[in-house]
């Protein structure tokens, strides 16, 4: 209880966004403290746990939740942390530990398309962003140079400077897709934060095909590296610090963050500016938890917008057997995709989508399903070999429109620390379902061009989730339908900023990390300007603070 720590900036969350925001602030001369709910982990432990796990396809198995800062787990059984209010389940996965959820991703680092920022104006759906593509362009580049991103030259997102490196070598299966689909679809390298050559002290990809759950050599960028970089820049990172409340003064300025350590002792940290970067579910949860007489609905929530507009990228898919051996599993898990359906006038009618090809080895999944079907002996080997060599899969990555009824709220249930659990309210709207229907014809054509047989469409009405949690802290110019401005600054509190995928007001058709990172790196310029001279030592007494 006795801790009296203070800094210019207090950042809640040590994931890729929180850590890189903290790093950039620290490099500008500010004092910065990161509070991270989860523990520190090392890559070695994660790799060892993954290799030792009997559930190799359960990508969360190397990431057991901390008792004092749980995250959702569904295998082997639901740990009941994320409460599902329905009507459609939203089984989000994320990781509460130093470095956050990008320890475990496929490193997709896509930029939005310019039109993604203006879908209300252009297509009469969703909302327009308060900023445009050109505002973000330099910050996309900054993010890409930090992460070591490569990609195909033309996927609709114009660049002022080249990617920092060439894409990783094209896996054979992807080459065959590119060649055989060329008449109808351009199959291109995904834009990913994965080294094709030594970069920033990290080696090139060696093709282990375990990007998820863990890149075993750090060829793939992740938030653990961001946290290391933040600490190297002078940021003080406090792990196992589960922030449960933000306090404010009479004027509505945030003054302190309260956190529990694993023994549930409470600590208080003060600062001049607060940045909540604790992911699209935990960030709104913290704002909703921070109630007071002045703000009975929680912070930044005067118009009841916190936690609303929950979005992700639902997917349906087709699995088929090609008429040639392609042997998925060599190289990265998600190397190639089709990007021609991400934009067009059709967006006024149905969701746009990316078409993404998996390159995940089929051995584990096929073995399990064959054994479950009672196949054994020589027949098992024969059929396993067939599946491993020929099975292919394509999925859509569908845009979801912002809907205030899709939201994160506080549950009446509490976690081990006695803090209300997060609760999701979610459904799949017709706009998205129509997009999924439209993509069926692409699926069929792709299978046809690959000589596909044994077509297995995902179950009608079943949408897989892609864990691209966004929208819950939407930025916008109108405080009545958004939580923060274009800089991530909350409409209601001048020294409270939000960073992370929750800030994105629409989901577009690409993974949310790079977009959120560019928005956050751009916001840092505003955070620094707001405090003026940042190299000055932080005041130790609230009375010394000069209102800005």
């Amino acid at each position: 209880m006795a801790d009296i720590l203070s800094a210019d900036y207090i950042v809640v969350g040590s994931g890729i966004i929180g850590s890189l925001v903290a790093r950039k602030l620290a490099l500008a001369g500010a004092s910065v403290i990161i509070l991270e709910a989860g523990p520190r982990v090392t890559r070695g432990e994660l790799v060892a746990r993954f290799r030792n796990s009997p559930r190799r396809s359960d990508w969360m198995s190397p990431y057991p939740p901390a008792d004092w800062a749980p995250h959702p787990i569904y295998q082997p059984a639901d740990n009941g942390y994320l409460i599902q209010a329905g009507p459609y389940p939203y089984p989000a996965e994320y990781i509460r530990q130093v470095g956050g959820t990008t320890w475990h991703w496929a490193a997709q680092a896509w930029r939005n398309l310019p039109n993604d920022f203006r879908i209300k104006s252009l297509y009469g759906v969703g909302v327009d962003w308060p900023i445009g593509y050109e505002d973000l362009e330099p910050f996309y580049q900054e993010a890409e140079e930090i992460m070591g991103v490569s990609g195909a030259p033309n996927t609709g997102s114009p660049r002022a400077k080249p990617f920092p490196m060439e894409p990783v070598a094209e896996p054979y299966a992807m080459r065959r897709l590119r060649e055989r689909l060329a008449s109808d679809f351009p199959v291109v390298a995904n834009t990913t934060a994965r080294n094709s050559r030594p970069y920033d002290g990290r080696p090139a990809c060696v093709g282990n095909n375990s990007c998820q759950p863990i890149c075993p050599v750090d060829a793939q960028y992740h938030g653990g590296l961001s946290a290391d970089a933040a600490e190297a820049a002078g940021v003080q990172l406090i792990a196992n610090a589960n922030v449960y409340k933000l306090e404010h003064d009479e004027s509505g300025k945030v003054t302190a963050a309260l956190y529990y350590d694993p023994d549930k002792s409470s600590h208080r940290i003060t600062g001049k500016t607060f940045v909540v970067a604790a992911n699209g579910i935990e960030s709104p949860r913290l704002l909703l938890l921070s109630t007071s007489d002045k703000f009975p609905k929680g912070l930044a929530n005067n118009f009841d917008m916190v936690g609303r507009h929950l979005m992700d990228h639902p997917s349906t898919s087709l699995t088929f057997d090609a008429d040639e051996d392609v042997w998925l599993g060599r190289g990265p898990q998600s190397p190639s995709s089709i990007n021609t359906l991400r934009d067009g006038p059709f967006r006024s009618e149905h969701a746009p989508y990316r078409l993404d090809f998996t390159n995940i080895s089929r051995v584990d999944g096929s073995t399990k399903s064959l054994i479950a079907a009672g196949v054994f002996g020589p027949e098992l080997e024969k059929r396993l070999r067939h599946s491993a060599a020929r099975e292919m899969n394509v999925k859509n990555v569908l845009e979801v429109l912002p809907n205030p009824d899709h939201r994160i709220t506080l549950s009446s249930e509490k976690d081990a620390m006695g803090i209300p659990k997060p609760e999701t309210h979610y459904s799949i709207e017709d706009y998205t379902r129509r997009g999924a229907e439209r993509s069926q014809q692409d699926f069929r054509r792709i299978a046809e061009l690959m000589g596909g047989t044994n077509l297995r469409f995902s179950k009608d009405g079943d949408f897989a989730n892609n864990q691209h949690i966004c929208g819950t802290l939407s930025m916008g110019s109108d405080p009545k339908i958004s939580v923060c401005d274009e800089w991530g600054r909350t409409h209601d509190h001048e020294n409270l900023y939000l960073a992370g995928t929750g800030v994105l007001p629409t989901s577009a058709t690409c993974n949310s990390t790079e977009n959120a990172l560019a928005v956050a790196l751009r916001a840092v310029t505003h955070m620094l300007a707001q405090q003026g001279a940042t190299s000055a030592p932080p005041p130790r007494d609230a009375d010394e603070r000069v209102p800005s």
Partner: protein, 471 residues
Amino acid sequence: MRRPRRRASAPAWLALAISSLIGAAAPGPSYAADADTIARGKYLAIASDCTACHTLPGSKPMAGGLPIETPIGAIIATNITPSKTAGIGDYTLEQFSAALRKGIRRDGQMLYPAMPYTAYAKLSDEDVAALYAYFMNSVEPVDQKPVETKLPLPFNIRLSMAAWNLLFLDGKPFTPDASQSAEWNRGAYLVRGPAHCGACHTPRNLLMAEQASKELAGGDVGFWNAPNVTSDANSGIGGWSIDELVAYMRDGHAAAKAQAGGPMAEAVENSLRFLTDPDLRAIAIYLKSTPAIHDPADTRPAYMWGGPFDDLASIRGVPLPRDRDSWSGAQIYDAHCATCHQDKGQGSFDGKLPSLLHNTALGTTNTNNVVAVILQGLHRQPDVLMPAFADALSDKQVATLGAYLIENFGNPAAKVTVDQVKTIRAGAVATNSNLVLIAQAATVAVPLIVIALLLIWISRRRGRRQDASGS
């Protein structure tokens, strides 16, 4: 602003004359040379690896500033750009030659033998002139002086090097051996002269001079071990083919033999990979002919140890110990090494991720290189990067892993200790306080030491004569 290049052509001189008239930087001394000579000089500068010491990584070429750690303290490499104020811009060819081959600066002060002038003494007059032409014409002058070297007494008295030179500087240029092929002679010239292989690969005596009787028998570079590269089949490179030696020097890697790490990776990166194939072959031919120096501890060639092995049965289904220092070698290997070196240490099919079996690094009795590579990783242009594990593994873990690697893939007689890991992690070469103390005591007893040095000198001269008559 980039300064004008110094060329002998009339228009350039005219331009320089004009620029000096209008008050721009004054040009340095001229040294007329044709493009071929300059190119030859550049090649020799690469073969001599001047940049290894004289270029601070990421800074202007040849501008100096790199501290070279020695047992008696750090020696700071000087600026050897043609800057008149900070470099060697005012050096004449003769002065350049004296510095290169005799260790004497333009101001008459003596260089420390961290500068391998004992090797460069073998350079031919023609090659020295070509090097001079290159430095004067093609290296960009940098007007910034690095900090001065400051060594403890008596080494701060540069004149003390005179006695050292008397003992250890054989100032004669290379003389070809008429009984050997032109290739052999070219190789001998490169090895003993510009490439100064012995600077690392020949052990040094108490006074830090290369021991002529143990030429190329293996030495220490900081905590790195530069192996024996004499023709001995077990202790040296006798079992390597010419092609393997060439591949190693060119690519930094020879399949089923070894890969270059640490200072050797730098030598490949900065120097050897740019040498012509005939020159690399000449070096290989010469090395294969050197007198074999054998260490009885080497019961088989270093690359002949190890076999495919895994210990997965001992770790699958077993929870990881909470205390990382209690992880087994197999657990550490599984988590940190198996991704690239594969489950049984066999490396990748194309050899780009090296096999740990039949690998010199694990077959030598000196295990410093294994420890150093685990801690620091292995970086080699253009595209080799093994990550460093200094932050990921504790001293105990490195020792456990080292023991696991040696036992299963290397020479089981070798050992890795926690103290060894601690020392190598600490990085800097420990000052050899004994040497400093001895030398300081010696300065007190100057008359005695002079007599002793004279005696050593006389006995060495005898020894050399005997060597000469015996060969």
